[in-house]
């Protein structure tokens, strides 16, 4: 490298070409090829300082880009995990709703709705809707609502249960309520609901036996299972 009279500098063209080539590698983010060109140049002059500064700049850029890529990859993994968790929660919510009104067709035309847990007005309304729809869909003739698992209900909810049984009768099916415990029995008599036409039995077992016996009487010699 030399300095001319005007203060301009002259350098070997190969050094300039090399720098331009390195820059073009950097522009397409091929930092390895770029840095390979710049390392161990072995000349110590002012232009070499520029080359060194350029090298440091490229090294830092390469490092920053690498960290950004890693961070993006991590975010993407986290996003995928979050999406998977949300999907699971949605499925669980659907499962919980299904479980709150599990209607089982125990025999052809005989539906059983076992009610467990806590029944509030919301659940009570959902159960009625689901039971009535299922009676039509399955062409059921008998619906057994077993409330063995329920030890307490609000009076209005209990009243609504009796209304549900009456609605079942309006659809042309029988409704048997089984497993009423002493507390619920007191609630029902306390509010003075009209229990005419509502059949109640001690347990689900009794309800099924009664149904079987009646089917036997209606169709002697035919077993309930073979009805469909």
């Amino acid at each position: 490298m030399a300095t001319d009279a005007d203060g301009g500098i002259a350098i070997q063209e190969t050094r300039l070409t090399r720098l331009i080539e390195a820059l073009s590698y950097a522009s397409i983010e091929d930092y390895d090829s770029c840095l390979n060109l710049l390392r161990n140049l072995g000349t110590a002059d002012e232009f070499a300082e520029l080359e060194t500064a350029f090298t440091i700049f490229i090294e830092e850029l390469a490092e920053a880009k690498r960290q950004l890529r890693d961070a993006l990859a991590e975010t993407e993994v986290a996003n995928r995990e979050l999406a998977a968790k949300l999907a699971t929660i949605e499925m669980q919510q659907a499962a919980i709703r299904d479980l709150s009104t599990p209607i089982i067709e125990v025999w052809a035309g005989v539906l059983c709705l076992p009610v467990v847990g806590i029944v509030d007005s919301q659940r009570s309304a959902e159960m009625t809707e689901t039971l009535l729809e299922t009676i039509i869909a399955k062409q059921a003739r008998t619906a057994i609502v077993d409330i063995t698992g329920i030890d307490v209900m609000d009076t209005k909810t209990a009243d609504h249960f009796i209304k549900m049984a009456k609605a079942v009768r309006l659809l042309g099916a029988d409704c048997i309520i089984s497993g009423i415990n002493p507390g619920i029995a007191q609630t029902l008599t306390h509010i003075g609901v009209d229990l005419t036409g509502i059949r109640t039995l001690r347990s689900l077992r009794d309800a099924l036996q009664v149904h079987l016996r009646e089917t036997e009487q209606l169709h002697p010699g035919r077993r309930a299972e073979g009805e469909s």
């Binding site: 929660i89 669980q92 919510q93 919980i96 709703r97 709150s100 847990g117 806590i118 029944v119 509030d120 007005s121 919301q122 659940r123 009570s124 309304a125 959902e126 009625t128 809707e129 030890d151 307490v152 209900m153 609000d154 009076t155 209005k156 909810t157 609504h160 507390g183």
Partner: protein, 149 residues
């Protein structure tokens, strides 16, 4: 014997979780099963209302010694939803906060319109606080709790 638990309520699964936890918490403090069931029904009704009307909110359960020497259980339902238009009307069975619910619309509506009424019947005290930007419904229980006179 002081305890507090807070449950965020944003969806129906939160309602199910909160009512189960409420019953468990009452049972852990020696409340007999039927009364614990009533606490759970109240929590469930209030949580359902948060999902239906409250946009988002939470249920806080406190258990502490009451003024009468027995245990007192408090359910605080807070939400950021619109105020209850008419609390007295909303308390009536088969009503929402603006008047009677058409029975023909019950099925689409989800719920019977008896939730707040049930809360009033089952709890020993009920207070509704409405402020701009949200409301709080506070139900208290002391009757039938351990140590009650």
């Amino acid at each position: 014997m002081t305890a507090e638990r807070v449950f965020a309520v944003g969806g129906w699964s939160d309602v199910a979780i909160t009512r189960h936890q409420a019953r468990r918490m009452a049972r852990e403090h020696g409340v007999e099963p039927r009364r614990a069931g009533e606490v759970a029904i109240v929590v469930s009704e209030l949580a359902s209302n948060i999902v239906k009307y409250g946009v988002r909110g939470e249920i806080a359960l406190h258990v502490a010694a009451g003024s009468g020497g027995g245990l007192a259980l408090t359910v605080v339902a807070s939400d950021v939803g619109p105020p209850i238009h008419d609390v007295a009307v909303a308390m009536l069975d088969g009503h929402d906060d603006r008047g009677p619910i058409d029975p023909a619309l019950l099925a689409q509506r989800g719920g019977l319109g008896t939730g707040l009424g049930a809360v009033a019947r089952l709890a020993d005290g009920l207070e509704v606080r409405q402020e701009s930007g949200g409301k709080q419904i506070i139900a208290t229980f002391f009757r039938g709790l351990p140590g009650a006179a």
